[in-house]
Each structure stands twice: as C-alpha cells, then as structure tokens.
Amino acid sequence: MASEAGHVARILYKEIVEGDRRKADAESNDSASGGGARDFRFPYESVLPAVELIFPEKILRRDKVAHQGAFFWRDPGSTKVVSRTAEFMSPTRSRPTEGWISQVPKFSCFDTDRIPRGGVGNRVLLLLIQLHDQSVWPHFAEESTLRVKGAWDPSVAQELLSCLDARRAANRAVIGYIDFTKSRRFCNGK
C-alpha cells in the first residue's frame, strides 16, 4: 500500500506555533492553544477539500464526523514502515470553526523530539504528504531549508514559501494545502 518513492498528490500543511509546542511539551492546557489535548488544529471548512481526500473514510462518533485515514512513517534508525489509523475530527460546539487531528501522542512521528525547534525567521510546518497511492506521510519542514535554493522540489518550496510569506494577522498560524492533481490550493494568507 505505502509507496516509498511515489509522486506527491497533495500536501496539507500547518505551522507549528508556540501553543502546539506547549502542548507537545505537555506544558499547556490553556484555551488559547485549544485545551489540554495534544492535537493539531485547522480551520475546518477551509481545509475540508483536502481533509476529505487525506482522511477518506467518514464515521459518526457522538454526533460528530470523524474523518479517518492512515499515517505512514519510519521511526529513527529503523527501516520498517509504521502505519496507524488517524482521525481528523469535525468541530465541536465550543470551537465551531476548528477541526483537528486527534490523539497526536499515539503517533511517534509527532514525538516532541522530532519536531524541529525552529525560531524567529525559521518557522516550522507540519506537512501531511499524500501520495498518488493514497498513503499519507507526516513530515516537518523548516522555513530555513525551504529557502535554500535546490534543497526542496521547487514547486513544493514555492508553494510553501508563498504561503509563509503571505500577509496575515500576527497571531494566525500558517495553514494551507496544495493539491497537485486538481490544481487546487488554499492558503490562509493573502
């Protein structure tokens, strides 16, 4: 099922902000970071076209839609591919615009020590990379490497950088997707 060198069909991405880090470090249960659960939050309606492809199964759980898919990754030092069912939850009444990837701690690919620290001028993006074989591979990307000419595929670097450089409110995380199969994209900046 999982392809190790397949073509990229689409990428859903999100900036890892301080709130995500606090949650990753299990230091936060504040409402600004979305409560205590470790999850990655997205503007639901905006990213739904990509979510429905990346998490293609839909199940109902407690009156909420859970979009289900599977993540594939390799743990450090291992050649074995690990996979696990992943869920993207629809919004709750208290946060009606946010969807989120749930149960993040259960995925070793999201371990705190695997998230680059980043810093000023070097933002970190979480990438959910879906291949043409439908497998989804989470990765992190540092802004500094994206700006190195020739380091990344130019089409991917261009897309991510243009969204990183887009204008948005100071407290908004960079979020977007690019679908290479449908010439469709979203970026939450202008």
Partner: protein, 379 residues
C-alpha cells in the same frame, strides 16, 4: 493533473515564448490563463521525466528536487519562477508597460517631482534576467487597449529569436530598443531575456476592442479555444445527444439540461452563419460552481434563466441593429408556434419596421419552452 489545453499552452510557450490565446466569450480563456500561471510557477504535474514532486521518506528533505530535466515546460531548470499579470484597457500606456515619467506621489521634501515607472513588462523582464529567474507575463484583453502603442519599441524585441541568450549574453540576432532606464534615468538600449514568456488573451467578438495589425500578430503563436459541447455535456452530467425529441414540458433535470445544450448548439450554429464563428458564445456562460445534477428541477430552471440571460445579451450585442438577425438566431422567423419570441412587421411613415416581441426576462415558467423553441430543428 493539468488539462490538455494547459499542457499545450506551456508547450507553445516553451517553443515560441509568445502565445496569443483567442476564443469566443465563455470558452475558458481566463480559466486557462489561471491554470497556466499556476503550472508555470510551480511546474507541477507536467513533468514527463520524473520531475513531479516525489517523496523521499528515507530522511533529509522529504521532497527534494526531482532528477532529470523536464521538457515542454518553459525554463524547466529555473527555480525562481514568477508570474506577472496585467490587463489592457483603453487607457493602457507604454509608460505603464515598460517605463516612463510620472509625477511623484507622497514624495519627501526635496525629492524630485517626477519618478520613472517600472512597467509590467520591464519588471517581468528584470526578474527573468536573474540567474535562476523565469517570468511569465500574462496579458488579458490584449486587444482592448492600444497594444501596438503599449509595446512601443519592444514589439520586435519580443520575438523568440531576437532575445538575449539563455546566459544573458548578447547574440547577433538580439534586438535592442531604446527606453528610459528606471534605475539611472538615462535612455538606454534594452533587450528582453531568454526566459521571459508572454501569454496574451483576446476576445475578437466584443464591440469595444481595437484591431491588432498583422505585423503584431505575426510575433505570436496562436492558440484558439472553441465552444465545446462535450465540456458542457460533461458539466451537465449528460451523455451524447440522443435521437429523442424534447418533450413538451421538462419531466426532470436531465431533460431541462439536454434542452439547454441543444438550444446552445443551435444558437451558435445560427451565430456562425450570420456573423462568423468567432462571435459564438462559449460553454462557460452556462456553467457555474454548482453542479446542476445536485439541484431540483425548479432550481435548475432558475439557473438556466441566469445563463441564458447572458446568451441573449450576447446575441443582442452581436446582432445589434439587426432585428431580423436576432430573430433568426432565436428561431423566431419560421420557428415553432410555441416560441415566445415573435418577429412583428409594422410600418412607420409607409416604411417597414421590424420588432421582436418576447418575454422581457427568462423565468422558470417560460425558460424550457423558450429553449425548446431555440433548439427546434431549422427549416
């Protein structure tokens, strides 16, 4: 994946550098411009030699550059790709396109009262002169402004074989022209770079356009878009046209949509006879973001009213002053009795006068009968 039209446009750009897209209104020119712009900037989905983004999950950069050169994409090895856009209009000027003097606005005390504009072509050209630079300049509505004057001295220099070499060096054939240098303020000799690509679009059918002379057109590779029944049928979710006659009343959504397609084909056939194929109306005017298959019959008829109001406005503009021509397109000369449009002959001061009578606006209760009449086979 990119559409065939997009691939063709990129291939023509790679070969000729200047491509002129033309077609009737609603044939998808603007959509294609947007698609080509995205594909040029990101070069995705088009690489036949392993150039599409590929995942490398073994460590390091997850999606490194693809190996191998990509053919049939303009400047495949250039990574700093940028799209510039402009729309020509009656007030477009050489100054806005290349360079020229304009009053300085919000200047600081003591600064010059005038400044030199960096026009769109100049900025695209300068970007493409960078070591890894490639620029696509998109000019929409190129014939709505005085294109020849706007290009000025650059008209010869845009030609593919009159550009600078790919490394920026001057070639024997390179064509220079004089312009006001926005940097120094001096008049300089300037030439256009190898990796500047120009994609222009025009609609020949509108009344408010300026003619383009042959010498100008000769410098562009043409790419023509036609009204496409298959695209409209696909959007409507219909198969090929059957032999069945249209029923008196719409029994379901598919019948209403089939009627719309047949009416549109007939109207275009009449326009082609009366004014020429370039005056047809494209399929896009009857398409929207909403899939008609998801609508009720009532909603479908309402949606058809919106699209067909545009078709009617187009016919009235194309045949402006020719009542008999409009009547012929709307099948009101010898058409079926249920056609709500009628050509009335009267006299005024002993002179023959024609008047086309029919519904002021299309409505849910008359649109189907109207379209069925338009689609009725002509004698």
């Amino acid at each position: 994946m990119a559409s065939e039209g997009c691939k063709k446009a990129l291939k023509l750009l790679a070969r000729s550098r200047n491509v002129l897209l033309s077609g009737a209104p609603g044939t998808g020119k603007s959509k294609l411009l947007a698609e080509v712009a995205l594909a040029f900037e990101t070069a995705f989905g088009l690489a036949p030699a392993g150039g599409a983004p590929r995942l490398n999950p073994l460590g390091g950069i997850p999606i490194p550059p693809a190996a191998g050169a990509v053919k049939e994409i303009p400047a495949p090895t250039k990574m700093d790709r940028k799209v510039f856009r402009t729309v020509f209009h009656q007030n477009s000027k050489y100054r806005d396109f290349l360079s020229g003097i304009t009053p300085a606005v919000n200047k600081v005390a003591g600064a010059p009262d005038f400044t030199i504009v960096k026009g769109t072509l100049y900025r695209a050209s300068e970007h493409a002169k960078g070591a890894a630079g490639a620029a696509l300049l998109i000019i929409d509505e190129i014939n709505r402004g005085p294109a020849v004057q706007v290009f000025g001295g650059a008209i010869v220099a845009i030609e593919s074989d009159k550009r600078l070499a790919s490394d920026g060096a001057k070639r024997a054939e390179t064509q220079f022209f004089e312009m006001l240098d926005p940097v120094s303020g001096d008049v300089i000799e300037y030439a256009l770079p190898h990796d500047l690509y120009i994609l222009a679009a025009m609609n020949q059918a509108d009344a408010s356009v300026e003619p383009l002379d042959v010498a100008f057109l000769r410098r562009w590779e043409p790419l023509r878009l036609e009204p496409d029944e298959v695209v409209l049928r696909t959007f409507y979710g219909l198969g090929e046209e059957g032999a069945d006659a249209l029923p008196d009343a719409p029994t379901n959504v598919s019948v209403a949509l089939e009627c719309s397609v047949r009416a549109w084909v007939s109207v275009n056939a009449q326009i082609t006879l009366g004014r020429g194929p370039e005056f047809q109306i494209g399929h896009g005017v009857l398409m929207s973001d909403v899939s008609p298959q998801t609508l009720s019959l009532s909603e479908t008829l309402s949606t058809l009213c919106i699209g067909w109001a545009k078709v009617r406005a187009h016919v009235e503009e194309v045949f402006f002053g020719d009542i008999r021509g409009i009547a012929a397109v709307l099948n009101a000369l010898d058409g079926p009795v249920y056609n709500p449009f009628k050509l009335i002959e009267t006299t005024f001061a002993d002179d023959l006068r024609l008047r086309l009578e029919g519904p002021t606006n299309f409505a849910e209760d008359n649109i189907y009968a109207t379209l069925r009449a338009f689609a009725h086979p002509r004698e």
